[in-house]
């Protein structure tokens, strides 16, 4: 018997039981669409993170204070006093792969203007800070070396701060806001950067670092150092340089542990990608369980079908179907169910991930590998779970099958 006849027999059998065929397919549809949606969304999120990190500057290098231990007790890094302005100077003067350096100090404060107030984080940097962190000024002017030297009370604010403190629509530039209890003059507004990794990059107040150190925190130490390498591929060289310079200036002996950490944006990128990659695999694994359940659904229905259609099988045998014709018919039926279900599932999955990534404002990624894999899995599901019932059908004794009631 030829394949087109077999195909005709199988699809007629499927059409004869439309509702049941549809319900059977539903399992596969749900399984496949959830796998596709999960994998696509996982990849969207990875790409979203990558774009975020890239927009922060791929040549960005951060120097953080090391975690302190005191007699085995982890003290965290918040009170560490390992980084100072001297380190900034040293990096600036002695690292040839480092383009710009800025100290960084921060404190959380309540911002107040008239009867409006807003909690925010105040960050202090030098004149290079804006360019290192890729902030741009929308209106107004940045602060100058003179401001830093004189601990001037001036600030640059982001759009979120503007919205919350200047809801009356008045021009913030030139006006005073209070940070804690100290009045600062707004001299510029930053261009919007949107969200990055779930953090509002516009909820920001930038002031000269010296102002925070002297007037607010009264400290000699800084929290972090931001550097930019001269180019992306010189990042690693810059990191090595920075480490040497800092070890020197901190007078660490050989064998001593670093009292600082140097991180590049690239490392962050790799780390975040591996985390979201792991999450993607996890989600896909969970989703694939529903695919297995769908496959078992097909097997279940095919099994019932064989019993229910014993008479039909007997008749087909009597009019000349060979065992293998019967077997192929049932295999083809289950494969068709799972493949059609799979195609519908793929379409649904792509739709779901499209809608979700639109809502989340993520880039829309179609995972070709997931689509191809799902297709293969579908075909395999149909054949694997259809095999046993088909075998059972093919081995029925035609005499008993014909007399079966």
């Amino acid at each position: 018997m030829n394949f087109s006849n077999l195909l005709k027999i199988a699809y007629e059998a499927i059409l004869r039981n439309k509702t049941r065929s549809l319900l059977t397919m539903l399992g596969v549809i749900i399984g496949i669409s959830s796998v596709i949606a999960m994998v696509s969304l996982g990849q969207s999120s990875t790409q979203n993170i990558n774009e975020d990190i890239s927009s922060m500057g791929t040549n960005l290098i951060t120097v953080m204070r090391a975690i302190q231990r005191s007699g085995g007790i982890n003290m965290g890094n918040s009170n560490s006093q390992s980084l100072s302005l001297k380190d900034c100077e040293a990096i600036k003067n002695r690292c040839k792969y480092v383009d710009a350096v800025s100290p960084w100090v921060s404190t959380s404060s309540q911002l107040v203007r008239g009867n409006e107030n807003w909690p925010s984080t105040v960050q202090g940097g030098n004149t290079d800070f804006l360019s290192i962190k890729k902030y741009k000024i929308e209106r107004g002017t940045p602060f100058t070396e003179k401001d830093i030297k004189e601990y001037t009370k001036v600030c640059l604010i982001g759009n979120t701060v503007v919205e919350n403190l200047f809801s009356d629509g008045s021009d913030p530039i030139g006006q005073d806001i209070r940070i804690g209890s100290i009045p600062f003059k707004v001299i510029g507004i930053l261009e919007s950067k949107g969200d990055q990794m779930g953090q509002d990059q516009d909820d920001v107040v930038i002031v000269p670092y010296s102002t925070i150190m002297k007037r607010m925190l009264a400290t000699q130490y800084i929290h972090m150092i931001y550097c930019s390498a001269i180019s992306e591929d010189k990042c690693d060289a810059a990191v090595t340089e920075i480490e040497q310079v800092l070890r020197n200036s901190h007078k660490l002996k050989e064998g001593d542990e670093d009292d600082f950490n140097v991180r590049t944006q690239k490392e962050m990128l790799t780390m975040m990608s591996s985390i979201s990659g792991f999450l993607t695999i996890l989600l896909a694994a969970i989703a694939s369980i529903s695919l297995i359940v769908g496959g078992i659904g097909i097997m279940n229905i095919m099994y019932v079908t064989v019993t229910e259609r014993t008479k039909e099988i007997g008749l087909r045998t009597a009019i000349g179907a060979r065992s293998r014709d019967i077997m192929y018919q049932f295999l083809l039926e289950s494969s068709m169910l799972s493949l059609v279900g799979g195609v519908i599932g793929i379409i649904f999955g792509l739709l779901i991930s499209y809608v979700a990534s639109m809502l989340l404002n993520w880039p829309y990624v179609i995972s070709t590998s997931a689509v191809l894999l799902s297709f293969v899995v579908c075909a395999a599901t149909g054949i694997f779970f259809g095999w046993y019932p088909a075998k059972k059908a093919a081995n029925l004794d035609p005499i008993n099958a014909l007399r079966y009631e």
């Binding site: 008749l315 087909r316 045998t317 009019i319 000349g320 179907a321 014709d325």
Partner: protein
């Protein structure tokens, strides 16, 4: 006249637990082309076993069965399927039509298992077979839209569509009322007059009178094998009082 079926000392034993049931204990007969034979017997006489072997659904324990010159006992399962598909047409007591499938598609069924027949030829032959049984107008009907007699006609069309050398009918009138039974027998007689060889298994003597020869089975042996004076089913139909069942 050539021999279409030759049965030689045919035996069929079944093993049931520790006992051996002898369903057929050495049966021999020949059927020539163009014969209309009824095989009669009570239940337990071995006529179902006989029919299964004639239909190549079962193989004899001993003895030989030739159909159209082919020795059945030497064939494997696939070859038996081939013989069923090309040489035999089955008509069953309960019609065995596929539900939710049109009459035409039901009749096409045997040809789907014959790869030498194109889709076009398949449909033409199915239409012609339905014409022969007088159901030209109902090709698109589903079995549940047809009466019992019409369903059996579809089944007969399905049995003749592959142009078999022998038609095997198993109690083909068993589920039908007298009038419809006579109609079906009249159709069989028409096919017979057109040259078809038919074996009709029944336990009803008043149906057997429409055939031309009766083989009587009892306890696995032939007790009688006689020519019958064939009565016309059409005449019997006309002799029936007007139907009260439906108008």
């Amino acid at each position: 006249m050539s021999v279409i079926i030759k049965i030689e000392n045919l035996k069929r034993y079944f093993q049931v637990g520790t006992e051996t049931v002898r369903a057929l204990k050495g049966v021999s007969y020949e059927i020539n082309t163009g014969e209309f034979v009824s095989i009669m017997g009570t239940s337990g006489s071995g006529k179902s076993t006989m029919l299964n072997i004639l239909g190549c659904l079962d193989k004899p324990t001993d003895g030989e069965y030739y159909i159209d010159g082919i020795a059945i006992s030497k064939l494997n399962r696939d070859e038996l399927a081939y013989v069923r598909n090309r040489k035999i047409g089955f008509v069953f007591q309960n019609y065995n039509l596929l539900s939710r499938t049109t009459a035409l598609e039901n009749v096409e069924l045997p040809l789907l298992y014959n790869k030498e027949i194109s889709a076009k030829e398949r449909i033409e032959r199915a239409q012609y077979a339905l014409e022969q049984v007088g159901l030209k107008e109902r090709m698109g009907h589903m079995p549940n839209q047809l009466s019992g007699g019409q369903q059996q006609r579809v089944a007969i069309a399905r049995a003749i569509v592959n142009d078999p050398v022998i038609l095997l009918a198993d109690e083909a009138t068993g589920n039908l009322d007298t009038r419809t039974s006579y109609e079906i027998m009249s159709l069989f007689q028409k096919l017979h007059s057109e040259g078809k060889s038919i074996v009709f298994v029944t336990h009803e003597p008043d149906i057997a009178v429409f055939t031309s020869r009766t083989i009587m089975l009892r306890d696995g042996r032939i007790t009688k094998d006689v020519a019958v004076e064939t009565q016309s089913a059409k005449a019997a139909l006309e002799a029936l009082p007007p139907s009260e069942d439906y108008n």
